[in-house]
C-alpha cells in the first residue's frame, strides 16, 4: 500500500518534524518549513506529531493512492482535485484504492503538506526521514533525494480512518497573504522578530532602519534561506565575526547589507553578523511568501515568542 508518485513537481520532499540532536556534527534539522501547516495535518488525522508527510512546493504534483485511506492537504491553498473533481484543502478527505490526487500550481502560498492517516513510511537516518538535499540525508533512499516521479511511498491503512472525514481546524491555517481579493495588497506582511546575535553592535540608526524600512522577498530562496531586498542596505560597522551556531530563523546581514533569513536546511554555523531571529509564527509565514511580497519586521520580546511557542507545542503535543 503506497502513494505512487505520477508527477513530482518542481520540489516535493519527504519531511517529518526534523532531525534533532546532531547539530554538533554539523547536521541541519530539516523538517517542514511551515510547521503550523504540518502539525495541523497530523493532528487532523490523529497522527503522531512527527509522522512523515510530503512538502509539495508550488504544486505540479500528481499521485495515486494504491489503498484506501484518509488524507489531508494543509498549508498553501493550491488548486486540488481527486479524480478530476475539485476538493478543498485544510479538510480531511477519503481516498479509495486507485484514486488520483492532483495538486496544481497557482493559488496562494508556496508549500502544501500532504499527510495520510498513520503517516508515510520510510527508513529513518539519524532518527529522522526529513529530506535535507544539501546534506544528502533523509528521504526515501536516505540520501537526501527529493521525491521523483515513479517513487512509491508506503503507508499503512489505519483502522477507523473513515471517521476522520471532514475534520478541519477550528480556524483557518491557510496562509493569509496579501492578495487583490483581500484588499490588503498595499500593506506589508509583518514578521515578528526577537533581537539576537550582534544586534547590540549595530549602530542605533541601523537598528532603527531594520524595522522602519520595507523589504521585498526575492526569488533567491530555497529551503536553506530567503534573501530579502531593501532600498537601504544595513551596515555592519565592525570586522568579520567568528563563525558561530546559526539558529533557524536567524536574520543574517552579509557584506552587501541585504538580509538573508535562514530556514531549516541552513548550515549549522554561520560567519555573518545577525540582527534578529524570526518567531515561530513569522517563520511559518515567510515559508509561504512568494517573491516580490513586501514585508516589515516588528520586534517582540523573547518571552512573548517563547510563551506562544509553549502553547503551540502543548496544543500539538510536540515532544522533542
Amino acid at each position: 500500500m503506497s502513494l505512487r508518485i505520477l508527477q513530482s513537481g518542481p520540489l516535493t520532499t519527504l519531511q517529518d518534524f526534523g532531525r534533532f540532536g546532531y547539530l554538533h556534527q554539523g547536521i541541519s534539522v530539516g523538517g517542514p518549513l511551515d510547521e503550523q501547516a504540518f502539525l495541523w495535518a497530523n493532528r487532523l488525522l490523529n497522527n503522531h506529531f512527527n509522522a512523515a508527510q510530503l512538502e509539495i512546493t508550488l504544486g505540479g504534483f500528481r499521485a495515486e493512492f494504491t489503498a484506501a485511506t484518509a488524507w489531508v492537504v494543509t498549508g498553501a491553498e493550491l488548486p486540488m482535485s481527486l479524480n478530476g473533481q475539485p476538493v478543498p484543502a485544510q479538510q480531511v478527505q477519503l481516498a479509495a484504492a486507485g484514486d488520483v490526487l492532483t495538486v496544481a500550481p497557482g493559488g496562494v502560498g508556496l508549500r502544501a503538506y500532504l499527510a495520510v492517516a498513520g503517516g508515510l513510511l520510510a527508513t529513518p537516518l539519524y532518527g529522522s526521514v526529513a529530506t535535507v538535499v544539501r546534506d544528502g540525508l533523509g528521504g526515501l533512499q536516505q540520501q537526501g533525494q527529493a521525491v521523483q516521479s515513479g517513487d512509491q511511498i508506503a503507508y499503512a491503512t489505519v483502522p477507523g480512518y473513515r471517521t476522520l472525514l471532514g475534520r478541519r481546524p477550528g480556524r483557518s491555517v491557510a496562509p493569509q497573504l496579501p492578495t487583490a481579493a483581500t484588499g490588503a495588497r498595499d500593506k506589508p506582511v509583518i514578521l515578528e522578530v526577537i533581537a539576537s546575535g550582534q544586534y547590540a553592535q549595530f549602530e542605533p540608526e541601523q537598528q532603527q532602519l531594520f524595522t522602519d524600512q520595507l523589504y521585498q522577498v526575492t526569488p533567491a530562496q530555497d529551503r536553506m534561506g530567503v534573501r530579502l531586498a531593501a532600498a537601504e542596505p544595513l551596515q555592519w560597522p565592525h570586522a568579520q565575526i567568528i563563525s558561530e551556531p546559526l539558529p533557524v530563523g536567524a536574520v543574517q546581514i552579509p557584506p552587501n547589507g541585504q538580509p538573508i533569513v535562514m530556514l531549516k536546511d541552513r548550515q549549522t554555523l554561520g560567519g555573518y553578523p545577525k540582527l534578529a531571529t524570526l518567531t515561530w509564527r513569522a517563520q511559518n509565514t515567510l515559508a509561504q511568501l512568494p517573491a516580490a511580497t513586501e514585508i516589515q519586521f516588528r520586534w517582540v520580546s523573547a518571552t512573548a515568542a517563547a510563551r506562544h511557542l509553549q502553547q503551540v507545542y502543548q496544543f500539538f503535543q510536540v515532544q522533542r
Partner: protein, 247 residues
C-alpha cells in the same frame, strides 16, 4: 552567602537569547584552542546536568569556536529563566576555575593520524598555494603536516570539521568564486583553518591535498596529517573501492 566574582572580573562568558527556544553562550572573542576548550568544558558540565535530570530543560548543545548554542525544551522553561540559571552557574568561582583549567583534549584516543596525498593531480590549488606563499611544494607539505591540529567545531555540512591552526605562511584566503564541486576527501585551507570535505559538495576553500579515508571527528579531537605518495594514495583508494564493491 555563596562566593561571588569580584566586580573587576569580567564573566568568562556572556549568555544571550538566540531564539525563542535557544541561548548562545559566548566566550572571549578569538579563535584560540584554550577558549574552545572552555566551550567544550561548559558543554560537558551542562551535559551532566541534563543527564542527571538536574536541568531537564536542556535539549541540545552545539559548540563552535568560542560559543555554545543551548536549545531549550520550551515546555519546561522560558528563555530568560534559562539564561538566568546559566549566568548563575557561570558566576560560581569553582566553575570559573574549572573552565579556566580546561585543556585542549590530550587523550591518546582522540589523536587521529590521517594520510594525505599532496599531489597536483588530486589538489587543484597546490601549485597556486605554493606560489602565493612563495614556497616550494615540498615546503608547503612540510608546513601543512607539521602541526597537531585541534578540531574547533563541526559545521557547514555533516561531519565537516574545522581544524586549526594552519602555520602562518599557509594562511591564504578563500577563493573569490567557490567551486561547484569539491571532491570528497579533499583537504583544503582557508586562513588559519584547514578541513577535509567529507562528501563531494560546493566549496570555496583552496585545495591542498586529498585523503583516502578519515575518521569521524568530534570537537576537541586532535589531528595530524601524514604525507603519502600518489602511488600509495592510488593503492589505498583502489583497496577501498574494491572493498565497497564487494559489499
Amino acid at each position: 552567602m555563596t562566593a561571588r566574582l569580584s566586580d573587576s572580573q569580567q564573566p568568562l562568558a556572556q549568555v544571550e537569547i538566540a531564539a525563542a527556544d535557544a541561548l548562545l553562550v559566548r566566550f572571549a572573542n578569538r579563535i584560540d584552542r584554550k577558549i574552545n576548550a572552555q566551550v567544550l568544558a561548559l558543554r560537558d558540565v551542562l551535559q551532566q546536568r541534563q543527564q542527571s535530570g538536574q536541568w531537564p530543560w536542556l535539549l541540545e548543545l552545539a559548540p563552535a569556536y568560542h560559543s555554545l548554542l543551548v536549545h531549550l525544551d520550551i515546555r519546561h522553561i522560558l528563555p530568560d529563566a534559562a539564561q538566568h540559571q546559566i549566568q548563575q552557574l557561570l558566576a560560581q568561582p569553582e566553575l570559573v576555575l574549572q573552565l579556566q583549567a580546561a585543556m585542549p583534549a590530550s587523550k591518546p584516543d582522540t589523536i587521529h593520524q590521517i594520510d594525505v596525498c599532496y599531489h597536483p593531480k588530486l589538489a587543484a590549488d597546490l601549485q597556486v598555494i605554493a606560489s602565493a606563499a612563495n614556497l616550494s611544494v615540498a615546503e608547503v607539505i612540510a608546513l601543512h603536516t607539521q602541526p597537531t591540529y585541534h578540531v574547533y567545531a563541526l559545521g557547514f555540512a555533516p561531519q565537516f570539521a574545522y581544524l586549526g591552526d594552519v602555520p602562518e605562511p599557509l594562511r591564504l584566503p578563500r577563493l573569490a568564486t567557490p567551486r561547484q564541486q569539491v571532491p570528497a576527501g579533499s583537504v583544503a585551507i582557508a586562513n588559519q583553518q584547514t578541513a577535509i570535505y567529507p562528501r563531494t559538495s560546493p566549496g570555496g576553500w583552496q585545495l591542498i591535498g586529498r585523503a583516502v579515508s578519515w575518521p569521524q571527528l568530534q570537537a576537541g579531537d586532535q589531528v595530524r596529517f601524514r604525507s603519502i605518495s600518489l602511488s600509495h594514495y592510488q593503492q589505498a583508494a583502489a583497496a577501498i573501492h574494491s572493498a565497497s564493491a564487494r559489499e
